[in-house]
Amino acid sequence: MIIEARDLTVRYRSAPADALEGVSFGAEPGELLAVTGPNGSGKTTLLRALLGLLPLRRGVALIGGRPVGGWARDALAREVGVVPQREEIVFPLRVREMVMLGRYARLGPTAPAQPGDRDAVARALARCDATQLAHRRVDELSGGEWQRVRLARAIAQEPRVLILDEPTVSLDVRHEMELFELVRQLVDDGLAGIVITHELNLASRFADRMLLLDQGRVVRTGRPNEVLDRDVISRVFGWPVAVTTWCDGSPQVIPLRPAESSTESGKP
């Protein structure tokens, strides 16, 4: 397993309860795992614990079989590329410069960028359909373009694992679909992918497996049709839902209006 969590348990200082409790899972190359759950269920905490940014109360996160704490940050960045949820733009770079930051873990502090690095940047831009953006300033991009550029930066790291935290928040349908299609292709080409997302229905269609978190614990894990159970989803999200099946076989969650929940039969 290229990335693995065993019994991850985290408690923030002065918090009464664990933010994560005994979370275990793993991802293989060529596999897309969707981590989902209500707001505050511990999804981003899980990401930070997995990447060694939080002290663990219990358990271990393994990257390439080694505990994450034993990795130097630059060595880790060559294995795992992350697209974090938020990022401020204080000093706006050009897109090409921004993607080149993904090469820093391979460049070291002083060596100038080599042709190989520029090639990697060009490939990453092409892969994310962002070549034509290369000379734009990052503070002038649309939301969808900005996400593609940040994904390109993670690809330029040439990692074996790709992790995205809520990558489609505030994107419209087209950009949302484009991003998930792109991530799916990258995973099919051999990356291990982890996507943290609120989009249950997209997760169901794109992910191989899902992990449902609630209050820091794993409620269910497995293939989308094992996780997206009507009663489980209704209980975890605190809202009645119906679950139907799209023609590709993926379960789709439909939140119900109050009048519908009394007569709901599980079919639209």
């Binding site: 130097a72 990022e87 770079l93 873990a105």
Partner: protein, 324 residues
């Protein structure tokens, strides 16, 4: 594209230095300045070599160092309004230096050490204040804390000066206003000795600063050792500020204005930005000092007054753009 800009910068450095050496109670044409530098028997040699050259070179080194500190601190706290002055480093360093002078421990080598202790103390206090207000460090609160700590340091400095004996008071007060009147080859040597290592450290951290400017979490994911980088940069900036303050008092706004201009004209990437900021900061203070010496002859304005006159309006413009 960048070759003419770099050539222009080189010409700018040379021209500013030659011009500034020529300015003063005895005006010297650039030809006389060059003869004075290279020919020991020239009529202008004494004035150029003993008085003006060390002063102009010191102004260049201090201006460059302050600009460099500003650029590094702005990336570190992700705020284009940060500089050693507004973050309280200069105030802390000033307090440390005044304390050393008041205790009659004011040798050329001891004052920077005491100023360094003051600057580090100020950074620690500013950080502490900024973190208390919330769980995560807010760059805006950090700046506010810097201004508060700077004001506090200034108040304690005033108290020490007033309570000291007369000659000490006069010395400390003159020095506090910021000025290169005390420049000498020895002062230049002391400054360079203290400044060389922190300058090298900041240059070596250029790429880490690119990453830190994106935010600490993103920087970690891209391979930066964030805590180590922060410690190194804060210590290096404190040492550099302390050396500047100990040599020529508190000079504000160089670290604020210069990096901003360089980011616009060159690049926000620190491998380019840091060296360019150093050279431009040098030019800026050399010219500001020349202005301070020639504006109201035979009086000499403190150079800190000139940098503030230029810096405050620019700060106002920056503030509007940042908040817009």
């Amino acid at each position: 594209m960048s070759v003419p800009r770099n050539a222009l910068l080189g010409v700018g450095v040379t021209a500013a230095i030659l011009l500034a050496i020529g300015v003063g109670s005895v005006r010297l044409a650039p030809g006389e300045v060059i003869r004075g530098i290279f020919d020991a028997d020239a009529g202008s040699a004494a004035i150029v070599r003993q008085l003006r050259l060390p002063r102009v070179l010191l102004a260049f080194m201090v201006g460059g160092s302050l600009g460099l500190c500003g650029a590094a601190l702005q990336a570190l706290v992700r705020n284009p309004l940060a500089d050693p002055y507004l973050l309280g480093l200069s105030g802390g360093a000033g307090l440390g230096a005044v304390a050393a002078i008041a205790l009659h421990a004011g040798s050329a080598w001891a004052v920077p050490v005491s100023a360094f202790a003051g600057a580090i103390g100020a950074v620690a206090l500013v950080y502490r204040l900024a973190v208390v207000s919330g769980r995560r460090l807010d760059p805006r609160v950090l700046l506010l804390a810097g201004v508060v700590v700077g004001a506090f340091a200034a108040a304690v400095m005033s108290a020490i000066i007033v309570l000291s004996d007369a000659p000490t008071l006069r010395n400390a007060f003159l020095w506090l206003l910021g000025g290169l009147g005390g420049a000498s080859w020895q002062a230049l040597g002391v400054f360079s000795a203290y400044a060389a290592l922190p300058i090298a450290v900041l240059f070596a951290k250029a790429r880490s600063l690119d990453l830190l400017a994106l935010g600490e979490e993103t920087a970690e994911y891209l391979g930066a050792d964030v805590e180590r980088t922060k410690r190194l940069v804060f210590v290096a900036a404190s040492l550099l500020t302390a050396a500047s303050v100990a040599t020529c008092g508190i000079i504000g706004f160089v670290g604020l204005v210069v990096p901003h201009a360089c980011r616009l004209v060159w690049s926000p990437l620190h491998r380019t930005l840091l060296p360019v900021t150093f050279l431009t900061g040098g030019i800026f203070l050399v010219l500001a000092d020349a202005l301070a010496r020639s504006l109201l002859p035979p009086l000499e304005l403190p150079v800190g007054v000139v940098t503030a006159l230029v810096g405050v309006p620019l700060f106002a413009v920056l503030l509007r753009r940042t908040l817009a």
